[in-house]
């Protein structure tokens, strides 16, 4: 058992967590607290920028947004019909204003990565955030 675990750990240690891996982990964490682990997500995958930012293989991506529990938006796209009631994670702060269902944002501002959850929107979706996320909750959009 220890042999197996040690080998796994050696392999894990050899992996140098890159920028892309950390971004994937952060987005995965955000998606999971919005819904649940390994939940289904729909991504506006026509935006090639998304592919460079994080690893889609880490997510349970569905092709139709109707089958998704959480949507990820990185650009100004119209939400497909039948999906505009689902919680959205946006990758650009300005998209929070454009989509009332955008509960959270993971974005760059002032040269630093940021996370934010909008208080009334997480209440609307009855999202219960772990205490470690409290400092990322804001009452309103700037």
């Amino acid at each position: 058992m220890f042999k197996f675990l040690s080998i796994l750990l050696i392999l894990g240690s050899l992996l140098n967590a890159s920028e892309k891996e950390y971004a994937s982990k952060i987005i995965k964490n955000l998606v999971e607290v919005i819904d649940k682990p390994n939940t289904s997500v729909w991504i506006d995958s026509y935006d090639t920028k998304v592919f460079g930012l994080f690893d889609l293989a880490k997510f349970n991506v569905v092709k139709s947004c109707k089958k998704a529990k959480v949507m990820i938006l990185s650009s100004e796209k119209t939400i497909p019909k039948g999906c505009n009631t689902k919680p959205i994670l946006v990758l650009d702060y300005e998209l929070l204003e454009k989509h009332d269902n955008a509960v959270s944002a993971f974005f760059w501002k002032k040269g630093r990565p940021n996370i934010v959850f909008i208080s009334d929107r997480i209440k609307h979706f009855s999202i219960s955030l772990p205490a470690s996320y409290d400092k990322y909750i804001e009452e309103k959009i700037w």
Partner: protein, 629 residues
């Protein structure tokens, strides 16, 4: 049985390394920020011995101008010269017009086309739009630019895609000094991101006195910068920089100026275009330098003529085009490129109201053609060997003089074990005479068209031991400077037939208490074969970066060893510069900060011929407010 124990020990040993696998969101965000830092993308270990100032460090330091950064660089001391311009003096030596300093904003070299140096214009370059700074010591990689620099300072601007917004800052402090700056970013159609920046900085220092005359000290800077870029396609930059400062004592025989000031303007356009692996850059720069010096007791020019009103203006034009490419074939990497550069000047001399521009003699332009190749061989997984060569041709357009020169460099970068990095380089470079040194005009110092390049040969080695918590560095550099350009007793530039040898040593340590709190300690010293020192031969610093709740703290203590300048007959005491800064992040849109520099009023003084030792840094306190929206 023994094997089972071994696996258990291995499991326990490796367990902490995998903590990241179950990191909380705060830790993930911190690690993401660290891994995404732009300085990691621009750092090149193979380019030399480098010092990095990260975005976070520059913010905590409240580094508003380049002076705030360069004042603590090892083996260098920041000192004003007798014309009020700031220079970086190499330990023990004196470097005219900071010709040993090469300065870049992104890929644009910011060097005076006439004087050859950078700091005469850009020492107070505003850093509000700068993300991070990479400094390479002991000879730059040949790929950086055409001309050699003992120190190469590369400033990289903020990425508009990561700023996402605008900011306005106001600062006010001692002697009515102030700074106003504004930055905005945005996105145009077709995925073009832009960043616009403007700043105005007025820095007033205490007025000095000499023989009953007031010698005011001040500087005034305007910085306008714009960049438009599309990822992996092109970058277009426009910039205008204006710098006006006092000319201190000026050229006067008695050092009694009734007016002494210098006014510079530098503006450029630069287009960088990417074609797959090929990078093409075309830039055009204009520079204007104006020197006005009135001295009641007179100024003696090189030809013995005497004036009380001296007015000297230059207009310089610098055109550059270069193309670089890199190819990798297995363990072999080739980096190569070509460059063409044209420097042309238009002088204008007004002496006692008489136009004497026609007396200008010597080259008024230089064309430079160069081709370089760097070869890197991946000797093993952890070791890279490199060799670089560069061929250059200088056409002076005067007396049909052409110089064909070569520069070369070999090196090794090796990760000796998980923690220990070794870098070693041997290089042969030169500094080509500037147009100011080659040309003669009605100035106090006569130029010399027969000047030859100064040879600079270096051997250097550096060990860096790094763990997650601390880093220890140890380095050595031996430098031979052959035929340096000096001014002789007849007020004429000449090649001094000497071989100046410098042995530089440094040791430093960085201890990270955690992500937000660290201390850096560094000490350096230099031995040389010159009869006496003209600048500090030893120095060091302690820097503390701290964060507590919404407050950032920065404390810096810089030491420079005193020396006796035998030519100026001046004894300079040890210098101690204490800087303290506190930043309060009131909320997501407002930051208030306070900074004091040279708080002990004991920073190292600069010897000035015919005057007395003067301070380069005043004791100063500035209050700053910055809004983000």
């Amino acid at each position: 049985m023994k094997r089972s124990i071994l696996y258990k020990l291995l499991f326990l040993a490796l367990l902490p390394l995998n903590i990241w696998a179950v990191e909380d969101i705060d830790s993930l965000l911190n690690h993401y920020e660290e891994e995404s830092a732009l300085n990691l993308k621009t750092k090149r270990d193979s380019s030399g011995h480098n010092i990095v100032y990260t975005r976070d460090e520059l913010d905590k330091m409240q580094a508003h101008t380049l002076k705030d950064v360069i004042k603590s660089i090892r083996q260098l001391t920041m000192m004003d010269n007798s014309f009020g311009a700031t220079e970086l003096q190499r330990a023990g030596a004196y470097c005219t017009n900071s010709a040993c300093v090469r300065l870049y904003v992104n890929d644009q070299e910011m060097t005076s086309g006439f004087f050859g140096g950078a700091l005469g214009i850009f020492s107070e370059y505003d850093l509000g739009h700068i993300d991070h700074i990479q400094i390479y010591l002991g000879g730059n990689a040949i790929e950086f630019g055409n001309e050699y620099g003992f120190i190469t300072i590369k400033m990289y601007t903020k990425d508009p895609d990561r700023e996402k917004g605008s900011s306005v800052g106001l600062s006010y402090g001692t002697n009515d000094s102030y700074r106003v700056n504004a930055l905005t970013t945005g996105k145009l159609d077709n995925d073009i991101n832009y960043l616009l920046y403007a700043s105005k900085l007025k820095n007033n220092k205490d007025t000095l006195g000499h023989k009953g005359y007031d010698v005011p000290r001040y500087s005034d800077n305007l910085n306008l910068f714009a960049t438009f870029k599309r990822e992996n396609d092109f970058i277009f930059e426009l910039s205008r920089y204006e710098h006006k400062h006092d000319g201190l004592t000026g050229f006067g025989d008695q050092k009694t100026p009734t007016r002494s000031d210098r006014k510079s303007m530098y503006q450029y356009l630069s287009l960088t275009k990417y074609f797959d692996t090929v990078k093409l850059q075309i830039s055009y720069a204009e520079e204007e330098v104006g020197i006005t010096n009135n001295d009641y007791n007179g100024i003696t020019l090189y030809d013995g003529s005497f004036t009380t009103e001296y007015d000297n203006r230059f207009e310089n034009k610098i055109f550059r085009v270069n193309a670089k490419d890199s190819r990798t074939f297995g363990k072999h990497r080739f980096f190569y490129g070509v460059e063409y550069q044209h420097k042309g000047i238009k002088p204008n001399f007004n002496i006692d109201g008489v136009d004497r521009s026609s007396e200008f003699e010597g080259p008024d332009s230089i064309d430079l053609y160069s081709v370089f190749l760097e070869y890197q061989y991946q000797f093993s997984e952890d070791t890279v060997l490199l060799a670089t060569g560069k061929l250059e041709r200088y056409d002076q357009h005067y007396n049909d003089r052409t110089d064909n020169l070569t520069q070369s460099r070999i090196g090794i970068v090796s990760q000796l074990n998980e923690n220990l990095l070794f870098k070693g380089f041997i290089s042969q470079n030169y500094i080509y005479p500037s147009l100011e040194q080659l040309s003669t005009a009605p100035r106090p110092v006569k130029g010399n068209v027969n000047l030859i390049p100064t040879n600079i040969d270096t051997v250097s080695a550096e060990f860096t031991y790094k763990t997650e918590q601390y880093q220890v560095g140890l380095g050595y550099l031996k430098m031979y400077t052959i035929d340096p350009i000096k001014v002789n007793a007849n007020k004429m530039y000449f090649n001094k037939k000497i071989e100046a040898i410098f042995d530089d040593y440094f040791v430093n340590c960085t201890y990270n208490f955690n992500k937000d709190n660290k201390v850096i300690v560094e000490y350096y010293w230099t031995n040389h074969n010159r009869p006496f020192s003209q600048s500090p031969s030893a120095g060091g610093h302690i820097k503390l970066f701290n964060t507590y709740d919404d407050f950032d703290f920065y404390t810096e203590f810089i030491y420079r060893e005193g020396f006796v300048h035998k030519v100026f007959a001046m004894e300079i005491d040890d210098g101690y510069d204490l800087t303290a800064a506190i930043t309060y992040h009131m909320n997501s849109t407002t930051t208030v900060s306070l900074k004091g520099q040279n708080l002990l009023d004991k920073a190292i003084l600069a010897p000035i011929r015919g005057l007395y030792p003067i301070g380069t840094l005043d004791k100063k306190v500035m209050l700053n407010v910055e809004w983000f929206f």
